[in-house]
């Protein structure tokens, strides 16, 4: 029983970290219909900015997070304007080509600018060290990540389902021409949701840095994992992504506890099984 809880806590923490980083991708892929393989690159940029702010400039952690989110969005604006805008509505494979190209460039530049070493983001004292849960200890930053995940999930749900921006976004995506004729400035809506997705990526990159450390190859190393959780959840669905992250987090964690040798098999067989039962993802919308 204790083992069960113990694994459960690990699974929850891991799943939430995955969720924070991948949810932005769910927005780009599901709502904006862009297969954005450069999502990991934006998370990495966020991580680098936070690391630079907190470690080299000595700024407080919270400030570093805000700086990372804003900085990454600022970097993403010209990319959206000159590159992404060209591939909205383009065939998926074209989008793959473009975003892989962007990822390669970002990796190359990160290697050039920051060098190939690992970069850490120093945690404030409150988030360091283990917290005793009674039956086991857990790292404080993991609890923090779980909290952040909950906040992000609720905030996004509210934004997309309950605000006028959400209405405009969903309208623009479902029928751009119709939305435009109703007076929605679709370009701005797209740009804003792109910024939202990128900001979430950066936020996730910083929060998740304890688990997925920042280094130049980050952009590709974890991309597959992000892609998998988003698609299993059903792109564009926030609850779907949340369930997928928690489920896959649990499967992964349990697998690695019970049969570490076959952890990889365990995870991907589970992915196949889930998609087999839900060919469009857990909560994917039928096309």
């Amino acid at each position: 029983m204790q083992v069960f809880f113990s694994i459960g806590v690990d699974a929850l923490a891991y799943g939430m970290v995955l969720f924070i980083i991948s949810i932005g991708l769910s927005v780009t892929m599901g709502l904006m219909r862009v297969v954005n393989l450069a999502h990991g690159a934006f998370a990495m940029i966020g991580g680098y900015i936070a690391s630079y702010a907190a470690r080299d400039l000595g700024l407080p952690y919270g400030f570093a997070i805000i700086l990372a989110v804003i900085g990454t969005i600022i970097i993403a604006i010209p990319l959206e304007r000159f590159l992404y805008r060209r591939i909205y509505g383009a065939p998926e494979l074209t989008q793959v080509l473009m975003t892989i190209g962007i990822t390669f460039c970002v990796i190359g530049l990160a290697n050039y600018v920051f060098g190939p070493t690992l970069k850490t983001i120093p945690l404030p004292a409150e988030l360091q060290g283990p917290v005793n849960l009674g039956f086991r200890t857990i790292a404080a930053h993991k609890l923090f990540a779980i909290g952040c995940g909950v906040v992000v999930a609720l905030g996004l749900w509210f934004l997309i389902e309950r605000t006028s921006f959400g209405v405009k976004l969903r309208a623009s995506v479902d029928n751009t021409a119709m939305a435009a004729s109703l007076g929605v400035r679709t370009r701005i809506v797209y740009a804003a949701s792109f910024a939202l997705a990128v900001g979430l990526a950066a936020f996730g990159g910083v929060i998740g840095a304890e688990l997925l450390p920042v280094e130049p190859y980050y952009a590709l190393r974890y991309m597959v994992t992000f892609l998998v959780v988003v698609s299993v959840g059903g792109a564009g669905s926030i609850p779907g992504a949340l369930i997928a992250c928690l489920l896959l987090g649990a499967i992964d964690t349990t697998g690695r506890y019970l049969v570490p040798e076959y952890g990889e098999f365990f995870f991907y067989l589970a992915v196949i099984a889930i998609v087999w039962v839900f060919p469009r993802g857990l909560l994917g919308r039928a096309k």
Binding site: L118, T120, A139, P213, G263
Partner: protein, 390 residues
């Protein structure tokens, strides 16, 4: 036409000998991609050697050509090596971070009449694949086996091994297990985890439940070590007094700033620490830091590359710049010298480097920087891996 090309190619191969005064060395390594830092260290070691020893051997000028294999890719490695030999006319092949990349090249050596100096790839068997292979780095067996003795000396009865599930990881597990059990200890459990593991908490739970007094771990240098070490601390294993043991890949100097306090006290055995105290090493570190640009990026592959260059220079001296792989390799069999890592020699039988293995502990210097502090020396260690394979 065919004859013409043959003649031209033969001319390229032979010309290196008598006429040309440029001797080319082809270095294959990961210069971009996830292991770019290790390739950078190759180059730093090579540059440091050239900076301190000049770029001439006798009348011959040394030229180094670099080719990139970002991740283990034997086919690519072989194609590049082939091209280096055939097109660029290199007389020496060197570098090779990954075992499969080196293995792929060995069948070429005889026909190409080119020696291969392995500057990192750490699987014991590489040297058996061709008589023209010399290795100046280490093997995982060589660096892991002494750790088992340390564990026993420190009174560890029961240990658990946790390794990444790939060649070097399995080597490390075998090396530790064999030696540890020979010394009378018991390995209660051996865990192999996929290379792609990100969250090590569940593994640490298992380590905890196993009741072992020490955990012996092997992970490839790089990002995952950070998560692993943190998980070790955060899951309370450090407090519980479970000793953390590993070969030195896990605490390579370029990762130490990221690991930070979490790594303090970890015991590793390895062939080289940048903090090694000797005049040779101080000179080397100074030159290598200059070569690499950012001193924080310097790590162990640089010393393998540095000594590799030493071996190649000796080979060139011995052959007078003529292309003769057999003579070159014979000349360095038994060669002994004072390397930045300490006294080393090339075992005439295996053509692998015999060297000291040091027990180190991660410590924090007075300047606040973390380093591997050498606390014990195992002198003149050969590679036990080959014997074990037999």
């Amino acid at each position: 036409m065919k004859k013409l090309i043959l003649a031209a190619a033969a001319a390229i191969l032979l010309s290196g000998a008598a006429y040309a005064d440029v001797i080319k060395i082809g270095v294959v390594g990961p210069f971009s991609g996830p292991f770019a830092i290790q390739g950078k260290n190759f180059k730093a070691g090579i540059d440091a050697y050239i900076a301190t020893h000049g770029n001439k051997v006798g009348n011959d000028t040394i030229e180094v050509l670099y080719r990139d294999v970002p991740q283990a890719d034997p086919a690519q490695s072989k194609a590049l090596a082939q091209e280096l030999v055939v097109k660029e006319g290199v007389q020496y092949l060197a570098g090779f971070y990954f075992t499969p990349d080196a293995m792929a090249v060995t069948p070429l050596l005889q026909q190409a009449n080119v020696p291969l100096v392995v500057m990192n790839a750490a699987t014991s068997a590489i040297v058996t694949k061709s008589p023209y292979v010399v290795r100046t780095s280490f093997t995982t067996w060589q660096t892991s086996a002494p750790m088992a003795k340390i564990a026993r000396e420190r009174g560890v009865e029961k240990a658990i091994t946790v390794v990444s599930d790939y060649g070097p990881g399995v080597d490390a597990e075998n090396a530790f297990k064999t030696t540890f059990e020979k010394e009378g200890g018991k390995v209660v459990e051996s865990i192999r985890m996929p290379l792609s593991t990100n969250d090590f908490s569940p593994i640490m739970q298992r380590v905890r439940n196993s009741g072992a007094q020490a955990v012996f771990a092997f992970l490839p240098s790089g990002p995952t070590t950070l998560g692993f070490v943190k998980a070790y601390n955060e899951n309370g294993l450090k407090e519980a007094g479970v000793q953390f043991l590993a070969p030195g890949d896990l605490t390579q100097e370029s990762d130490l700033p990221a690991l930070g306090d979490a790594a303090l006290g970890i015991l590793t055995t390895f062939h080289y620490a940048i903090a090694h105290d000797s005049p040779e090493n101080r000179a080397f570190v100074e030159a290598a830091r200059k070569a690499i640009g950012n001193p924080a990026e310097l790590s162990f592959p640089s010393v393998g590359a540095y000594d590799g260059m030493h071996v190649i220079y000796k080979m060139i001296e011995a052959t007078g710049g003529k292309q003769d792989a057999k003579k070159a390799v014979d000349a360095v069999k038994g060669l002994a010298w004072e390397s930045p890592r300490g006294p080393v020699s090339i075992d005439p039988e295996t053509r692998h480097i015999t060297q000291n293995i040091y027990l180190r502990e991660v410590a924090k210097g007075s300047d606040g920087a973390y380093y591997n502090k050498e606390i014990k020396t195992f002198e003149k260690q050969p590679d036990p891996g080959l014997a074990a394979a037999k």
